[in-house]
């Protein structure tokens, strides 16, 4: 089993790498299209800004690489948002893997949303063993709207997609690498796909 973590101009890659080591599944951090294509699992992490991240991916043709993948792919936080159709952050056209838009939280809310919130109505193998409404750690100012591909719903001012899934593509708004046991279980579930 090999896991590739996509390297690009976004933060928190180190944290994801450490989290994979903790569950006994060391991963490689790479931006080499061949290594990404050949990996059994691909993690697309990210803390950063949407337009500069998409620009970076396009310049290296990584946008096409990501779209063409057939193995399970997990987008985390900004990674998940970039897998949507469009983001209000920098008015950015994204990868279009999930059929939803990314919008900014309303002015009246404290942003970023920082802290632990619940993922409700969870569906699918990613959440296996995570019963009820598990708590995960969130840090974000933009959110993906609800759509047919929503597999977890979280409330912060409004209800938004805290997880999305379509075919082999998975995305989570929260940070499983920082979400204690629940996060570890989710990463393990992803590896077990």
């Amino acid at each position: 089993m090999s896991t590739a973590i996509v390297k690009y101009n976004a933060g928190n890659i180190q944290s994801v790498l450490f989290a994979m080591e903790r569950i006994g599944a060391p991963a490689m951090v790479t931006d080499d299209p061949e290594l990404i294509r050949k990996a059994d699992k691909v993690i697309f992490p990210g803390v950063g800004e949407a337009s500069s991240a998409m620009k970076y991916l396009r310049e290296r043709n990584l946008d096409e690489v990501l779209r063409s993948l057939k193995q399970p792919v997990l987008g985390i936080c900004l990674g998940m948002q970039l897998m949507c159709r469009h983001s209000e952050e920098g008015d950015t056209a994204c990868l279009g893997l999930f059929d939803t838009m990314v919008r900014k939280f309303d002015q009246g809310l404290k942003t970023p949303q920082i802290g632990w919130n619940q993922a409700a109505s969870v569906k699918g193998k990613l959440f296996e063993g995570l019963t009820g409404s598990p708590y995960f750690y969130f840090v974000h100012s933009y959110y993906a709207g609800l759509c047919d591909e929503t597999v977890a719903v979280t409330e912060y001012g409004i209800n938004f997609s805290s997880a999305l899934q379509k075919d082999n593509f998975y995305g989570v708004q929260f940070h499983p690498e920082k979400s204690a046991e629940a996060g570890q279980r989710l990463l393990q579930n992803f590896l077990n796909l």
Binding site: R22, W116, A180
Partner: protein, 252 residues
């Protein structure tokens, strides 16, 4: 619903915890990594490491510690103490810190918060404020670990720093710190209700009711304490249960 966070704070010197603890289950009570992992397993929502090392080795020992914590601990953590430049922050984030906090350097160099937010994003820039209420009733900002008074008013400085890009405020009341008589409700409430970013209340937490008060009466987003956790006067699981019984949203 977004939950209220409980945050133990570990004071670090030369890579070791400074204040003692009485956790018998720890092999080495001075090892911050072991203590951090214990708190994470007990349900702490985040951790703060405050470094007070004053030697030339500090950058190296601190970044080594951060790397060890990041490898072993599965919850977010903030590192503060003596951070004064983009380079300092880069090193800590590269080693796995989730957020950094700045205090004295942000007052001395008003461009710092903006530079850090631009470089790394507001979500990882915590502004720490040590404040004291003076005889005139106003809350003033203190620097260098509470040793240097300034003429800055706490609320003005907090607003200015948030405008510049601080993503969170860690507010310590020097009037309350170490007293175990409860958090500073008035100034915490003022900041928590007037600022568009989360406020972490610090200083004075001595009983579980004090934590309930700072969430209910002062609208704090998080509460931080050190010795009550280190000396097991309050256990994190009991505290979470106490708060949940009072309908305060906490992560179970």
């Amino acid at each position: 619903m977004l939950t209220k966070r409980i945050i133990p704070c570990l004071d670090i010197k030369d890579g070791r915890t400074v204040k003692g603890t009485n956790f018998v289950q720890l092999r080495d009570a001075g090892d911050p990594v072991e203590l951090a992992a214990l708190y994470a397993s007990q349900g702490a929502d985040e951790l703060v490491f405050l470094d007070i090392t004053a030697t030339h080795e500090r950058r190296k020992t601190l970044s080594e510690l951060v790397s060890k914590v990041a490898r072993q601990v599965n919850i977010p953590f903030t590192v503060g103490g003596g951070i004064s430049s983009v380079d300092d922050v880069y090193l800590l984030l590269q080693n796995g810190a989730d957020k950094i906090s700045v205090n004295t350097a942000a007052v001395k160099n008003p461009a710092l918060v903006g530079e850090l937010a631009k470089e790394f994003g507001s979500q990882c820039v915590v502004l720490a404020i040590d404040t004291r209420q003076e005889g005139d009733g106003e809350w003033y900002v203190y620097l260098t670990g509470g040793r240097t008074k300034t003429d800055l008013k706490c609320i003005d400085w907090a607003k200015q720093a948030v405008d510049a890009g601080a993503g969170e405020i860690l507010l310590t009341s020097m009037n309350h710190d170490g007293t175990k008589s409860g958090f500073a409700l008035s100034i915490t409430r003022q900041l928590a209700t007037q600022l568009p970013v989360p406020v972490i209340a610090s200083g004075g937490g001595g009983t579980m009711q004090h934590f309930a008060d700072v969430f209910n009466e002062a609208a704090a987003d998080a509460a931080l304490a050190a010795s009550v956790f280190h000396f097991k006067e309050i256990g994190i699981p009991e505290l979470k249960k106490f708060l949940a019984d009072k309908n305060i949203p906490v992560r179970k």
